[in-house]
């Protein structure tokens, strides 16, 4: 006879919607999502403290923290470990790698935040969070998500590039093409009417066709 198993339906946040609210114990005390209002927030999860790939990522996140700060972005880590484990690991990183971790880390022992954000991929692990990144804007709207597997460390330059792209979109009302980097030309949103398409051809942008225009900022 087959044993019945209870399976919770995983929830996933949606782009363009308010990021799920939370209150959590962190290495900086009890924090709520709303505490970050007015700043961009990169909420990221890692599988476990005292593991090698996660250690390289924490060092790398700490290294880009000053660049993120310039962009009004705060960082907040998360894993299903205790605050004491986080503190011990952070101190260990400072001792062995000479890097101080400046951002808070959520101790999500009851998996509350991990479940809200769909950070647990049971196909990979039922007890660890995958390598997720959630970019939340100053109004608390979820703007981008990245999911990496347990085995693969994230690319910090891509995270910086993503933040730059989102902030450029907000500031200038444009989109950004593949592999875009700050300083490069951006995409002018395509016109939505036939008249607009006609006008676009004479608008003075770098235009391949009515739907494909670029401009320098």
């Amino acid at each position: 006879m087959m044993e019945a198993t209870s399976q919770e339906k995983p929830t996933f946040p949606r782009l363009g919607q308010p990021a799920p609210a939370f209150e959590a114990q962190t290495t900086h005390g009890v924090l709520r999502l709303e505490d970050f209002k007015g700043s961009w927030l990169i909420l990221f999860s890692h599988p476990a403290d005292f593991t090698p790939v996660c250690t390289t990522e924490f060092v790398a996140f700490a290294e880009i923290a000053p660049e993120l700060k310039k962009r009004n972005v705060e960082l907040c880590g998360l894993s299903i470990d205790s605050t004491y484990s986080h503190i011990a690991w952070i101190r260990n990183i400072e001792q062995h790698f000479g890097v101080k971790i400046p951002f808070p880390v959520i101790a999500d022992l009851n998996k509350e935040v991990a479940t809200l954000y769909g950070m647990i991929m049971p196909g990979e692990s039922k007890t660890e969070t995958s390598r997720c990144v959630f970019v939340i804007d100053p109004n608390g709207i979820l703007r981008a998500m990245i999911y990496y597997p347990l085995t693969t460390g994230r690319n910090m330059q891509e995270i910086l590039r993503l933040v730059d792209a989102l902030q450029t979109t907000d500031k200038h009302g444009v989109a950004t093409p593949a592999n875009w980097k700050p300083g490069e030309k951006v995409i002018v949103p395509p016109p939505a009417t036939a008249e607009g398409a006609e006008e676009r051809m004479k608008a003075g942008f770098e235009t391949k066709d009515w739907y494909f225009s670029k401009k320098a900022l």
Binding site: H28, G29, V30, R32, D35, S39
Partner: protein, 78 residues
């Protein structure tokens, strides 16, 4: 806790924040004045209000009588 340590003393961060609340002042101003990130100031303000050391008045925060006593107290016990 970030504001009150295990022996009941105010932490350095709490003292800085309470000193900046002498005004009273809104939290973003306190963050700017102390150099403590706004998210930490918001969290600390909650803790200080819960502990009776600060009071919220029209979107600004001020040190309470107990807060003053805690700052001035020789042991700083909260």
């Amino acid at each position: 806790m970030p504001c009150i340590d295990s022996s009941g003393d105010l932490t350095e961060m709490a003292r800085k924040i309470l000193a900046a609340m002498a005004g009273p002042a809104p939290l973003d101003e306190i963050s700017e004045k102390t150099g403590i990130p706004l998210y930490r100031v918001r969290s600390a303000a909650r803790e200080l209000v819960d502990a009776g050391l600060a009071e919220e008045r029209d979107d600004s925060y001020a040190v309470s009588a107990s807060g003053h006593a805690a700052i001035l107290g020789s042991t700083g016990k909260a």
